[in-house]
């Protein structure tokens, strides 16, 4: 699992949640909510889809770490790797 693959997983989840958003030109270092029309309900869904699809738990205090694609990758990639090694 590379950071790039991790970002792709997050983008795929966003595409499922918000099929009406154009995700082609997403900038990795800009907060998702500044580029997309995502509200708190949508972020809840990202967290829950991570758990459902990949068994990744994101505790509440870590939600801010999902702000941009870069921060998602930084935070989630170790979790994916941990999962793979089990």
């Amino acid at each position: 699992m590379t950071e790039e693959e991790c970002k792709q997983i997050v983008v795929k989840i966003i595409a499922d949640i918000a099929p009406d958003e154009d995700l082609n030109d997403l900038k990795d270092d800009v907060r998702l909510r500044d580029q997309l029309d995502l509200d708190s309900m949508d972020f809840l869904d990202i967290v829950m889809e991570l758990r459902k699809q990949h068994g990744i738990e994101v505790p509440e205090e870590d939600y801010p770490k999902l702000a941009s694609l870069d921060s998602c990758a930084e935070y989630l990639t170790p979790k994916f790797l941990e999962k793979q090694s089990v």
């Binding site: 499922d16 949640i17 918000a18 009406d20 909510r33 509200d39 309900m41 809840l44 939600y63 702000a67």
Partner: protein, 494 residues
């Protein structure tokens, strides 16, 4: 995982039991099952949809409830209820086949206002018919557009009329603006709560009307497919008789059969008073009755099926909200029906592209007296249906000038009428109250810690609102009980 349709729950315990397979209950079930909750949807009837359903008669399918889906916005408009709904249920816009209205109007003695899904049309109509009021109207629309609180907060809810009057001084315009909003969502007589007014103003005027070519069936079929994909269990012909309360929570759900099922949480779309009346506490035989919060507003609807299209008769409007009385009177009539005002709907008059309904449909909705209709003996009930059908059509035709009675009669293929008696049977709402109780419970909470309301009494309105209500209550009370604040932080400016 396949959806399971049963006559009784397959298990003895669920994460969540949902009472009522209407739009709200189904939407809640989809959300919860999608995220792995063990969910069972309990419906007393053998058909889904609740108030928004359909029936077959003489080989034809008739929609109940749905005239139009409100809150329609075209693709690309962001952050509105329709967009939220589609996202939360993972429904693609194309799946609902929403086709826009051709144009509607409010028709009062001596004055008409046309409106479409383009708000500027209504704005210019107000400027034309009430030139002195248009600035006030724009200010009112601005205030409503800024009203973003869909989930409810504390504090009182001012009267809609008082807010309108702070911008508009003409009582005629005030009534004309209120008429469609009251008919499509008000549980209160004579006035609306401002929050309900704002929700309806957005849904009807700032957003708009659309309809799937196949009507309500398209919506229910989509929801059923989603339920199946999510793996929710659905029990039909399986009503709830009692909610057994112990130490401030629902300890058991007793079905009509007498069997008891347990659940971590119960979401009820039965209505606030109806739900509380189901609650029984062992030590206190008298349940809280909440009798002061019972809705009274119910409706009759006549349906005429005719050969050809409304356009052949010169009728181009989608929906006409009419009033023939001096002042618009939105209240329970003393007589069985109040034919002075009503709503005409031509389901044919949506932009279906190259498709068209094979026959013309002409529906009229009027305010009705539920007690009156429900206390009639069977024979008299039928006779009164005939009588009022004629009266309603005669009054409505005054607002469809090119059409005369003979032309319509010649073309008529079938007709039917449903009354508050029918509505009570389908929804279980006390008094056949289509829009539920006048006092809404916006947070969905009840005196019991694991019992929550969704649906019409939670305060979201219209078919989009009903589904959003199920979604938001599922999110708030089951999926994210503690995390609301941290999620808010992520989406707010630093």
């Amino acid at each position: 995982m396949p959806e399971t349709v049963l006559q009784a729950p397959g298990e003895s315990h669920y994460d969540v039991l949902i009472i009522g397979a209407g739009m709200a209950g189904m939407a809640a079930a989809i959300r919860l099952a999608h995220f792995g909750k063990k969910v069972c949807l309990l419906e007393r009837h053998t058909v889904i949809g609740g108030l928004n359903s359909f029936y077959k008669l003489g080989g034809r399918k008739y929609d109940v409830g749905l005239h139009a889906v409100t809150n329609y916005v075209p693709r690309g408009v962001r952050g509105t209820p329709l967009v939220k709904l589609l996202r939360q249920l993972r429904i693609h816009r194309e799946e609902l086949d929403l086709c826009e209205q051709l144009g509607s109007k409010v028709s009062f003695p001596g004055e008409e206002l046309t409106f479409t899904n383009d708000f500027s049309v209504l704005e210019s109509e107000v400027a034309r018919a009430f030139p002195g009021q248009v600035d006030g109207f724009r200010a009112l629309a601005g205030e409503v557009a800024a009203f973003g609180d869909l989930s409810g907060g504390g504090g009182g809810d001012p009267s809609a009329r008082s807010v309108i009057r702070s911008h508009i001084t003409d009582r005629g315009l005030e009534d004309m603006l209120l008429c469609p909003l009251m008919y499509y969502g008000s549980a209160r007589e004579g006035d609306m709560d401002y929050s309900q007014f704002a929700i309806m103003f957005q849904a009807v005027y700032l957003e708009g009307f659309a309809r799937p070519f196949e009507g309500v069936r398209r919506l229910t079929r989509t929801l059923l497919r989603k339920l199946r994909e999510a793996g929710a269990e659905r029990c039909m012909g399986c009503g709830v008789r009692e909610l057994r309360i112990d130490r401030g929570r629902v300890a058991g759900v007793i079905l009509d059969s007498g069997r008891e099922v347990t659940a971590g949480a119960v979401l009820s779309s039965a209505g606030v008073t109806e739900t509380l009346r189901l609650c029984r506490e062992a030590r206190e035989p008298e349940p809280p009755r909440n009798d002061d919060n019972v809705g009274r507003l119910s409706f009759v609807e006549s349906i005429t099926v005719f050969r050809g299209q409304p356009r052949d008769l010169g009728c181009d409007n989608t929906i006409i909200f009419y009033n023939d009385a001096g002042r618009f009177d939105y209240s329970v009539p003393g007589d069985l029906v109040d034919p002075r005002s009503g709503v005409i709907c031509f389901p044919n008059n949506f932009d279906y592209g190259d498709r068209q309904l094979p026959e013309g449909f002409f529906r009229i909705t009027c305010l009705a007296n539920c007690d009156g209709w429900c206390s009639l003996p069977e024979k008299e009930y039928r006779a009164q249906k005939e009588r009022w059908f004629e009266t309603m059509v005669a009054r409505a035709l005054k607002f469809l000038r090119p059409v005369n009675r003979e032309t319509l009669n010649e073309r008529t293929l079938a007709r039917d009428m449903f009354t508050p008696r029918t509505i009570t049977r389908y929804t279980g709402h006390i008094n056949g109250a289509v829009y539920g109780a006048p006092k809404k419970v916006k947070d969905g909470c009840t005196p019991y810690e694991n019992l929550f309301l969704c649906g019409t009494d939670q305060g979201f309105l219209g078919i989009t609102g009903a589904m959003l209500s199920g979604i938001s209550m599922a999110n708030r009370h089951v999926l994210s009980r503690k995390s609301d604040k941290s999620l808010e932080k992520m989406t707010q400016a630093p």
